[in-house]
Symmetry: C2
Subunit: 251 residues, 2 copies
Amino acid sequence: MISINIIGSGNVAQHLISVFQQTETIVLQQVFSRKRENINHLVSDDTIVTHYSDLKPADITIISVTDDVIAEVSNQLPFENQLVVHTSGSVGLDALHAKNRKGVFYPLQTFSKSKSVNFREVPLCLETENESDYLVLETAAKSISDKVFKISSEQRQSLHVAAVFSCNFVNHLYQLGKEICDENQVPFEILLPLIQETADKIKTLSPMEAQTGPAKRNDQKTIEKHLSFLDDKNKKAIYQLLTQSIQKYNG
Amino acid sequence: MISINIIGSGNVAQHLISVFQQTETIVLQQVFSRKRENINHLVSDDTIVTHYSDLKPADITIISVTDDVIAEVSNQLPFENQLVVHTSGSVGLDALHAKNRKGVFYPLQTFSKSKSVNFREVPLCLETENESDYLVLETAAKSISDKVFKISSEQRQSLHVAAVFSCNFVNHLYQLGKEICDENQVPFEILLPLIQETADKIKTLSPMEAQTGPAKRNDQKTIEKHLSFLDDKNKKAIYQLLTQSIQKYNG
């Protein structure tokens, strides 16, 4: 049995609380939340603590709070020389206070409070300072997910940048596509199967192999037609830059 | 029963041949292919014609060839005053020769020869010159798909531009994300669940509501970190432009 404390009550914290509670080999020892009502729908009252001083050492203490306050929270912990990890994709190990042994437990998925997630499919990116801590963290991670990866701070940073390109920016392109549809009284739902297929394809093809469209075909006539169709400066600039980028790779 | 001729042997043509053959209310009358061997794995020999002069009138003749040769092919047809449609997203009605009644039958999906597609889920965008032709085309379309839309040439043009943003450009962002992973020895597969979730989310949320990430949060510290991480000029320019665009919409 591995004992776990969770500090925080946000989306990630709540998903971790739920999944660890359902896991037989894990004891969810304590959950810290400034406000009891944020999590008392999830855990029994005697598991919740609202003051740092009430926290007890556990095999793993998971700090799942916004990036900016990780350092401060880790400083508030009332114990020393325990394994303490954060769940952030963009914060280094060094943000954690040196009085405890440091690590990272980064679930690479977008979580919405209202939407349940199959945690066995969520990639968990782990990092610790020492190997023995890694084994404990890995055991806990594998108890909830089938996709556990050892990822250094530098690698995690690159993964975070890659996720901005492949997810945040992608969603924004969906938005621009929707706007173009809206402006022309075309239902955006017509595009949904194509959007889905585009995401599905890269499970079996590399994105390079999966690329289609006028830029890939170097179909200058269609590109010019599209550019003159777009009168919004911002969309035009994005169309040009991404078309050039595709042509660079496929030229 | 509606009789259909199909001109062409590419991806779209082959998928249409397969699905119409399996449809009871449709008679696949003739298929034109310059080379018999391109389609004789799909249709019986007596259905294939290799000379335009052998084509007979049908309720609908579907020209499914590359954009550039639609005009020429429509000119070669040996009959007049029949309903003739093309399958292109970016070509107007006027590309078709005036000797026949014109229309468009545009399936908005990416087709790969090797991958089967559930046609009932494929949006079909229809257009004709006259209403009576529309009814015939709509009946044929509804026999193979649950998603049939009446879309004008102008709307189809906008849909095509929107698809470039939401699919072609999206796939390129997957590629840039993969490159960042490759350069840092991180398996790209770690990102796949997040990519999938990003595509899934917009089935229930608008892209605006679904937007996450440093640009949306206006997290300037992380944006600066990412920009200094990226040393490739092209990726940096794309990061900046898309970040600005997100901030414009969410600011």
